[in-house]
Amino acid sequence: MIYAAASALSLIAGLIHLWVMPEHFEEWWGYGTFFLVSAVAQGLYAALLLSGRPGQVLLLSGIIGNFAVVTLYVATRTAGVPFFGPHAWEVEEVSAVGVAATAAELALIVVLVSLLEGVLRKRVVNALFVSGVVLWTLGLLSIFT
């Protein structure tokens, strides 16, 4: 059941990225490619989660991958699109679909963490906590400076 829930969350995020991909291609091939790769990766990951009991490596990969996407989302809504493309350093708007995709990815991270075992789980939780604190710090600096 929990694997199905995780799979559904990954699929939701992937489908949202697929939905917004075309107009990002219109802006720049690099942005469109990012959303295409994200959508495919999240779709494949959803399938892998249903293909048998995933090992720790696969779980950790999912946590890292979704954490990266979430961090990029926060960066683009606070400091701006980093470095690349015609909209570099433009702050993207917050939209319902963006929040929905991020919420799905965060929920997926929580579910994947719950499937981790032993010392690895403790270390991952602590790392995510530190990351959250760093994000708050950098995010507030971006907004107010």
């Binding site: 929990i2 939905w19 917004v20 075309p22 107009e23 219109e26 954490f67 979430v70 989302y73 926060v74 809504r77 606070t78 701006g80 015609p86 909209h87 350093w89 433009e90 702050v91 993207e92 708007e93 917050v94 939209s95 319902a96 679909v97 963006g98 929040v99 991020t102 919420a103 965060l106 991270i109 929580v110 963490v113 719950s114 499937l115 075992e117 032993g118 010392v119 789980r121 403790k122 939780v125 602590n126 995510l128 906590f129 990351s131 959250g132 604190v133 994000l135 708050w136 995010g139 507030l140 907004i143 107010f144």
Partner: protein
């Protein structure tokens, strides 16, 4: 070794909440900050109106003058007593005025010492696209570009400003704008006010933070469909200045340099003033007005006569525009004040006719009245609808014929020498959005507005017009020959754009590209 647990513990929930809350709440921080604030109070009419400095050439030959402008950070005392960081041409806000003569070439070298790529559009100039400041013809930081202007056009009031794709609004707001004035012998022969009595005015609006730095939404965030509207009116870089005048006539070259705010100009004592010119230069005949709407990027030249005023009297230039959103009220209802401080004799006058039809012709004014009438129903028509759509992420995209700007797409291929009617339409009457539409390269004649004749102020040659909610405006364009030959032909030589000059709309892609073909 810890035992395996499937459930998330309370401690883990708290730790993971740091990431979750950051991801879900921080993005809203920019939106909160972007909500337009109010400027601190200040007393108006405490600053004298600056007469903008004229840029001197760095060198001259028998055929051209060379100029150099360094785009760099600077500071400006916009509100008295406070130093506001700006970006400026030569570090000045507004930039220095470039004064040129018809038929004499000017070469202006721009050096970019700013953080961002820039491009310089001389608004209203007739030149090939490599010198037009195309939004994608960028000058990178630490690089330079020389713009060649052959100045083929009759005397008129142009201006130059940044035009880099997606950042024009920010760059212009920070200070990257200045006047480019073309003079010619015909205009010199007229008895119009000249010298210190010929005054360019750039009217803009700003919002200031508590520390008097400029307030503008974070780049990319669209605050309002009406564009950016400030609550402090700035003229020639000073907040609500005063201008000491004599009891005589003055010529004012008025430019609406705001990002999005329109104004309706009127004098507080209700006296009429005389409209003598538009973007295309002097009108054929002067027009007496008591109020004058002016939208972003439009220029109107007016003569105001203070000869009937007593010494120590004051006249306020007001903004009487109504409306809840962009209307003038409170701090935006008054623009500047004229203080009549001395008596002078006045040998100037406004002749009638001003610049008759026989003197109007130049590469951007190629049609006589007879030709305009003949082409009115015969010329090829292209229709351009200005609208808005929602992106898949829910944000606004401002579009022309349903499309956002794409630097790889050409939307029209007008042919040199052809006469065309371009029909600009704004079908979204219910949303009350207006679009000041600007065409690069050449001028047009407004044939009709909503099926009827245009108001008198729009009867001259123009390159910017207002397209109000639900309006349809038809213009007649005779496409000139693209003036090549100043330098080797570059990739933008025949490429130009037209766009909404509400800069927040422009930057969110309300722009289209055309290529003039032989």
């Amino acid at each position: 070794m810890e035992r395996y647990r499937r459930e998330i513990t309370r401690s883990e929930v708290l730790k993971l909440s740091a990431l979750g809350s950051a991801a879900l709440l921080l993005p809203f921080g920019q939106a909160v900050r972007a909500a337009q604030e109010s400027s601190p109070n200040f007393s108006p009419y405490q600053s004298d109106l600056p007469l903008l400095p004229v840029l001197e050439p760095t060198s001259s030959t028998t055929t051209y003058d060379s100029y150099e402008i360094v785009q760099r950070k600077g500071t400006a005392e916009i509100i008295p007593g406070y130093s506001t960081p700006i970006w400026g041409y030569n570090g000045l806000y507004p930039g220095p005025t470039i004064k040129v003569r018809k038929g004499r070439e000017a070469r202006v070298r721009h050096v970019n010492q700013l953080r961002d790529p820039v491009t310089v559009h001389t608004h209203g100039i007739y030149e090939n696209g490599d010198n037009d400041g195309h939004p994608n013809d960028l000058v990178q930081p630490k690089r330079a570009k020389t713009y060649f202007f052959r100045n083929y056009q009759n005397a008129r009031t142009l201006w130059y400003h940044d035009h880099a794709e997606h950042v024009t609004a920010q760059h212009l707001y920070k200070g990257l704008a200045g006047f480019y004035l073309v003079g010619d012998e015909f205009e010199d022969s007229l008895p119009l006010p000249r010298g210190e009595y010929d005054v360019p005015l750039i009217i803009q609006d700003r919002i200031f933070n508590g520390d008097r730095t400029l307030n503008y939404p974070p780049h990319g965030v669209v605050v309002s469909d009406n564009g950016f509207l400030g609550d402090v009116i700035v003229v020639n870089g000073k907040a609500q200045p005063r201008f000491a005048v004599a009891t005589r006539k003055y010529r004012f070259r008025i430019l609406n340099g705001s990002n999005a705010r329109p104004y309706t100009l009127a004098l507080s004592n209700g006296q009429p003033f005389t409209l003598i010119g538009t973007e295309g230069g002097l009108l054929e005949t002067p027009i007496s007005l008591t109020s004058l709407p002016i939208w972003p990027a439009e220029r109107y030249e007016v003569v105001i006569d203070f000869s009937d005023h007593s010494l120590n009297s004051q006249v306020i230039l007001k903004n009487t525009r109504g409306g809840n959103t962009s209307g003038g009220s409170g701090t935006t209802a008054e623009i500047m004040r004229f203080d009549v401080v001395r008596s002078e004799t006045d040998d100037s006058s406004v002749p009638n006719p001003l610049r008759p039809e026989s003197e109007q012709a130049d590469p951007t004014h190629q049609l006589t009245k007879v030709e305009v009438d003949a082409a009115r129903n015969a010329a090829t028509t292209k229709r351009w609808e200005f609208g808005r759509k929602r992106s898949r992420t829910g944000g606004p995209l401002y579009v022309i014929n349903g499309k956002t700007y794409d630097k790889y797409r050409i939307d029209a291929f007008p042919r040199e020498g052809d006469t065309e009617i371009w029909e600009f339409a704004n079908p979204f009457a219910q949303f009350q959005w207006s679009h000041p539409v600007h065409l690069h390269l050449t001028n047009f004649k407004i044939l009709d507005r909503n099926g009827g004749p245009p108001p008198s102020r729009e009867t001259g040659w123009k390159e910017t017009l207002i397209l109000g909610p639900g309006e349809v405006v038809r213009v007649l364009i005779k496409w000139p020959e693209v003036p090549l030959g100043a330098q080797p032909e570059g990739k933008f030589a025949r490429k130009y754009v037209f766009h909404c000059h509400n800069l927040e709309h422009e930057d969110h892609d309300m722009m289209a590209q055309f290529k003039v073909v032989p």
